[in-house]
Amino acid sequence: MEVVRAYFRSPAAIVGLFLLLVVIAMAASAGWLFPRDPLALAGRPLVWPFTNPRFPLGTDNSGRDIAAQIFYGARISLLIGGVATVIAVFIGIVIGAVSGYYGGWVDNVLMRITEAFQTLPNFLLLLVLIAVFGSNINTVIIAIGIVSWPAPARLTRAEFLSLRNREFVQAGRTLGLKDLKLIFGEILPNALPPVIVYASVVMAVSILLESALAFLRLSDPNVASWGNLIGLGRDVLRVQWYVSAIPGIAILLTVLAVSLVGQGLNDALNPRLKGR
């Protein structure tokens, strides 16, 4: 409760939460507001926004409703952001916890692997994964999750390293607690807050990664993704720049919302940073 109150003390955090709720509302109402397939031909191509009440945000180069694509795109972005983040944070926590708790050669091996993932540019690895496994939306989501786990793993490991020698953990050990209980019962709850905050960064990056893939036409072409639309609009950029501009703003606001919520959570969970 204290955390909730602290959260709502920051105007930026409130704005972030509001924006996020708007995006969620768009995703939820897409099917109801636009019952037709958003990727189906709807009217004349390249109708400018605010000129035809049937298409408030205009149409793209193949005559599809931009507004409908924006609303359905919110679903895709949230899906990718959510699922990829869960995958990345889960892998990260498990590897980071094991590595930080046991140390020694286990840590050495796991950190070598993490280092390998960080040395390889993650977008390149993403390209390789897409090249190998195809650009179906599920593959894309899993691939983004797989390239994003090293940072949460390092963070979890750092937290574990500093917590594992704290006296309350040692006390748990002298009571006879087993390793698994110490890891998940004693250390993890204390290590979790910064990792949860960091999850917002992973989510923001995941959304950006998918949009970049889609822009390069390497994501799933059969879903209404904001990145796809920007890539499409590139062909008519000279005059009908709005086709690219509108979905870009949607991405920007969504990522901004996620970041603001993350920062608000951080300030609420670490109150010592405030008021100085």
Binding site: L120, V128, V132, L218, I230, W241, G248
Partner: protein, 325 residues
Amino acid sequence: MRVLSLAGRRLAASIPTLILILVGVFLLLQFAPGDTVDAMMAQMGGGDARTAEDLRRFYGLDLSVSAQLGNYLWRLVRFDLGFSAIYGKPVATVIAERLPATILLMTASLSFAFFFGIILGVIAARGVNRWPDTLISTVGLIFYATPSFWFGLMAIVVFSIYLQWLPAGGLSDITSTATGIWRVLDTARHLVLPTLTLGLIFLAIYLRIMRASMLEVLNLDFVRTARAKGLDETRIITRHVLRNALLPMVTLIGLQAGTMLGGSVVVESVFSLPGLGRLAYESVVQRDLNTLLGIIFVSALLVITVNFIVDLVYARLDPRITTGV
């Protein structure tokens, strides 16, 4: 000397990492649907099975996976990256042609992001929770949330199409025959938008880290000592806080080198720059797996090199490193 040997050991320790990456990606690529020969046949407009078989034998693709991997690693030791069937040249040559543009772009973006990140971070930290801080932090958040390719496109619309101030793509004007200083200026003009586009998100990250780092250092005991000595705020910042606050920034460069290289794929595609990133994209689309593997090798080397330099700089900044405390 201790600095060098320390960084040298870090460098040696990255060899297993490199091997891990190469073996991992090599095995991963075995799952790819279709191989280089398929891609070549497609480019030649089809062909019979006999030709394909001969080609496979020629490129050693008929061997077992482990034998192929062994061959590949053995060739790598001799700096032979293999042959690109698509470009009809050795992969090393293709990459060498594309590398300068990427290194130029990365250096420019990094310098831009690092320099302005420090300045904005310091200004924000000095006016913490007042309007300069709020403004800078908000702008930083917006930059962070902006997809770089979209920013690039919008910059092209504004600066190249409407205002016609800057070129929309390429590394130099094909029609110009300028030499010497004019050529350099021409290239610089072409690099302005790509640099801003790639550097934007890093600027946002650096200014946020710099701000946080400054605030943290400002809270340390030795800053109180400096105040008790009678130093004014400006001298406290320049003499005591800045160098300490820079340490996490320097570390960050090493950690983000890979991300930046990844970002160049998109930016080079937006601005049609002949760089490594676009080559990576093209080789994925054309299924030129040999080239792709070569790019991965070179990228990893690049990241390792950046980290080596970062280690050297860090050791110069922090005397605690060399005495091993």
